[in-house]
């Protein structure tokens, strides 16, 4: 009786996936949508990476060999927009979709239909964005930060970019609302907040950050739009506005955004290290508090991106101290991970390799971040390749490595097959070597005085730029190994067990591999 009624109630929920391509168009299943997000992110990764290779190819040698400086500028602009909004954020949302319901013992996301919309907005947003490259006048070339008045100088691509940002923003905010609702309302009985895996915690905090700051970005770009087309003068001194105000509003969004790109990574690493150390995460509670304090601090440090605009001394001091403070909770996290490894019983499968790669190189990026916080020194570092090296060290071996670690870690659960361990390890080692060849020399040229966002440079920077370009092509092409491993794993391979990893702990490892289309329709018991 009850089964029949239940079937009647939740009609969609009880059969498998629909047949044909419309399955993907209409799907409201969290696993399907998660897969869509991840595949979308993978495609964008290669588009954004291709742009990076154009940049590096032009910078291989001094002199302009290939592209017009204006096109070069639009490549740096688009590379950033694509990588941030098209790769890292969708990949994290995809992982959240796949894993959060399974980690908290819920049957699906709270708002499945909203979930479908928030994904399908993304391809349209990026079509809009990428189409500007084929317009007369080319794509946006004022940097992803869209600083006024430079961004107002370009052609009509600005309007396209702004609408694309609006769509991406709406998608992210909808996705975030969904995630918060899922975490608060869909947990299995007994899954208290302080029992949630850290990935869920970091996503909860990230989702709040997104809801809080994406609308601020939306406001800032709307002001740009009305300044450009409707005669307002928010950012024009002539009409009583101030171009510096744009930077303040932008970075009020921009700095929390940086943590949006890294907090879920912290969650992933906090899942993987205990599994392969066969030891529970050290300092779970302090990890949660550290995440929360990083999120809080991220709202009061934005002006450290603007130490050269001419701030009052007191402002510079405040933002310097506040920025330095961030390294405390971040340090706590790193120490906790190492303490988790300490006296564990470690094995080094691909996910663990990526997690350790994350730990080492994110720490390097974090330490250069601490250097950047020192205002007087930052005045020399600002807008040089030192900054480029810094944020690529936290974003590539940080965010991107965490996403790859997560893929290797959970892929057996998604596909039911083990990935090819040998090629996974090759992927890790080749990527890591080239990545450092690519980004480490950027510290040198930056300190030696090479500004960022320039298509051509002086002879003194030639050697290290050539090295970096070799690293870039090596790193770029080694990602094809990743695609190979993923495709191979989707097609078949050694069958994965339910638990997959010996030391795995968590609800997602209690369902069969591959995870059935519907999981936890009756809440699992929580220890």
């Amino acid at each position: 009786m009850s089964t029949a009624t239940a079937e009647h109630h939740d009609h969609d929920d009880h059969h498998g996936p629909a047949k044909g391509w419309t399955r993907w168009l209409y799907t409201t299943n969290h696993k399907d949508i998660g897969t869509l997000y991840l595949l979308f992110s993978l495609v964008m990764f290669f588009i954004g990476g291709g742009m990076a290779l154009i940049i590096r190819a032009e910078l291989f040698q001094p002199g302009l060999q290939m592209v017009d400086p204006l096109f070069f500028n639009s490549m740096t602009t688009m590379h950033a927009l694509v990588m941030i909004f098209g790769v890292v954020m969708p990949a994290f949302v995809g992982l959240a979709n796949w894993m959060i319901p399974m980690m908290i013992g819920g049957p699906d996301m709270a708002l499945p239909r909203l979930n479908n919309w928030s994904f399908w907005i993304m391809p349209f947003a990026f079509l809009l964005l990428l189409s500007t490259l084929f317009m007369e006048g080319g794509g946006p070339a004022g940097g992803w930060t869209l600083y006024a008045p430079l961004s107002l100088q370009g052609g009509d691509n600005l309007a396209f970019v702004i609408f694309a940002i609006h769509f991406m923003g709406i998608s992210s905010v909808m996705g975030s609302i969904n995630i918060v609702a899922t975490i608060f309302n869909m947990r299995a009985p007994g899954m208290t907040l302080m029992k949630m895996p850290l990935f869920v915690w970091t996503w909860l905090i990230t989702a709040y950050l997104l809801i809080a700051v994406i609308p601020v970005l939306a406001g800032a770009v709307t002001m740009l739009l009305t300044d450009r087309y409707f005669g307002t003068s928010f950012f024009s001194a002539a009409g009583g506005g101030d171009p510096v105000m744009f930077q303040h509003i932008f970075w009020f969004f921009g700095h929390p955004e940086v943590y949006i790109l890294i907090l879920p990574a912290f969650g992933i690493i906090s899942s993987i290290i205990p599994t392969f150390a066969r030891k529970p995460l050290f300092g779970y509670a302090s990890m949660v508090y550290a995440t929360a304090s990083i999120a809080f601090l991220s709202f009061i440090v934005w002006a450290h991106h603007m130490f050269t605009v001419g701030m009052p001394l007191a402002g510079e001091m405040f933002f310097m101290f506040a920025t330095m403070m961030i390294s405390v909770p971040t340090g706590v996290k790193v120490f906790n991970w190492i303490a988790t490894m300490w006296r564990g019983s470690m094995t080094f499968e691909t996910p663990m390799l990526f997690a350790i790669g994350f730990l080492v190189m994110f720490t390097i990026g974090g330490l250069s971040g601490l250097m950047l916080a020192i205002t007087p020194a930052d005045i020399q570092y600002h807008d040089t390749y030192f900054v480029v090296a810094h944020f690529h060290y936290v974003l590539v071996p940080g965010a991107i490595y965490s996403i790859m670690a997560a893929t290797y870690y959970w892929m057996p659960k998604w596909t039911g097959n083990m990935y090819d361990e040998k090629w996974g390890k090759i992927h890790f080692w080749v990527s890591t070597v080239f990545l450092n060849v690519l980004f480490f020399p950027m510290h040198f040229v930056g300190l030696a005085g090479m500004p960022r966002r320039i298509p051509d440079y002086s002879m003194q920077f030639a050697d290290w730029n050539a090295v970096a370009t070799i690293g870039a092509f090596g790193f770029g092409f080694s990602q094809l190994i990743f695609v190979y491993v993923v495709l191979k794993c989707m097609k078949g391979g050694e069958k994965a067990t339910t638990e997959v990893w010996e030391g795995a702990d968590g609800l997602e490892w209690t369902v069969p591999s591959p995870a059935p289309y519907h999981t936890f329709e009756t809440p699992p018991p929580i220890r």
Partner: protein
């Protein structure tokens, strides 16, 4: 504290400085030639070594664990997962390090902001894509843009081997001349978009923001040539607006100013010449077509080629072509107005304050008769003068 900074700076220069890495090219921040730049360098090396020590400790523990606590070596997992004591320690220790770090940083910052009692004041105005310098005390002012040879070499497909230039992209037509041993105050502003004036050896980097004025200062202790770049993305030729500072003795500086001051201050403040300063600037006489063409070519290279390209073809969709342009081959008045006044809402600004009468007339004439344009007429300097 300062002593420690200096000492660390010296030690680290010896350890990591020019000697060790000489073969690898420049890999570190310059020590620079001002007291501030030396302090900044000291801070940089101090925080660098602190980071190195922290990094080394963290990685040592981590890699020890990775090698020792592996399953293949028979390690059994311990079960501890909490220790309030440890957590407090590794929150407090970094905090103490940070405070220790913040104190010298704050001291340097205060010194950097103190622009009082300056001996010389230079107003630096950023333009797309050149700098304008004005010595407020003497009224000497001029534009400074990328050296013409470099500008030609850096075009896409120029075929020039740029390694022949020792200071590729760091050479200008008119360098900024400053006296050593004097406190020089810089006033930074911009005329179109945001630029940033950066000379690493002076540890001066300040944004130039249209409509606003920023300050900075430097006391150069050593004669020499110091080179820098625009550090804030400012459009297509952001990478091509270098800065060259020629630091000379006080006497030399005074002589240099005296030599320029009478000429420059008597001329209209707007009438600077981009190409060369010593040429005949008689706007009242009648100029021949050949004369104007010869004069116009270098002016075009300096003032127009950045956008409209050396071959006059422009960049489709972004910058219109000069070759075959309806404006250029059309009525004289409209052509003059486009250059003199600019085009509202576009990257084409007014050149009224950037070119003197003769240069503007020459470049207009040149545009009308080059790149396959064959209008055949001249635009006389007097016509431009009449507009002023």
């Amino acid at each position: 504290m300062l002593f420690v900074l200096r000492w660390l700076g010296v030690v680290s220069a010896a350890l990591a400085g020019q000697n060790a890495f000489a073969a690898l090219g420049d890999v570190n921040m310059t020590v620079g030639v001002t007291p501030i730049s030396q302090e900044v360098y000291g801070l940089h090396m101090l925080i660098f070594w602190i980071c190195c020590v922290i990094g080394a400790l963290v990685f040592a523990v981590m890699f020890y664990s990775i090698f020792k606590h592996r399953k293949s070596k028979g390690a059994k997992a311990a079960d501890f997962h909490e220790s309030t004591m440890v957590e407090i320690v590794w929150t407090a220790v970094p905090l103490i390090i940070l405070v220790a770090m913040a104190i010298p940083a704050a001291r340097t910052l205060i010194a950097m902001e103190d622009t009082s009692n300056a001996d010389v004041t230079v107003k630096v105005t950023g333009y797309q894509w050149k700098w304008h310098y004005e010595y407020l005390d003497s009224g000497v002012s001029f534009f400074s843009s990328l050296d013409a040879e470099h500008a030609a070499a850096r075009q896409v497909g120029s075929g020039v081997d740029v390694s022949q230039f020792e200071h590729y992209l760091k050479e200008v037509d008119n360098p900024l001349v400053l006296p050593v041993g004097k406190k020089v105050r810089f006033l930074h502003t911009a005329s179109d978009v945001i630029h940033s004036w950066w000379v690493p050896d002076l540890a001066v980097k300040k944004d130039a923001i249209p409509g606003f004025i920023n300050e900075n200062w430097a006391l150069i202790e050593q004669e020499g040539v110091y080179r820098g770049k625009c550090a804030e993305l400012c459009g297509r030729d952001h990478g091509f607006m270098p800065i060259v500072v020629n630091a000379v003795s006080e006497e030399e500086f005074d002589a240099w100013i005296a030599e320029r001051a009478p000429v420059e201050t008597m001329a209209d403040a707007g009438a600077q010449t981009v190409a060369a300063t010593t040429e005949d600037d008689d706007a009242d006489r009648e100029w021949a077509l050949e004369e104007l063409m010869a004069r116009g070519e270098p002016v075009y290279a300096a003032a127009c080629a950045a956008c409209h390209q050396a071959n006059g073809q422009g960049v489709p969709g972004a910058f219109p072509a000069i070759a075959g342009s309806a404006v250029v081959t059309g009525p004289v008045d409209a052509h003059i107005k486009t250059v003199y006044v600019g085009v509202a809402g576009s990257a084409m600004g007014s050149f009224a304050n950037q070119l003197n009468d003769v240069d503007m007339a020459a470049v207009l004439t040149y545009q009308r008769n080059a790149f396959g344009n064959t209008v055949g007429d001249t635009i006389q300097p007097a016509a431009i003068k009449a507009l002023r």
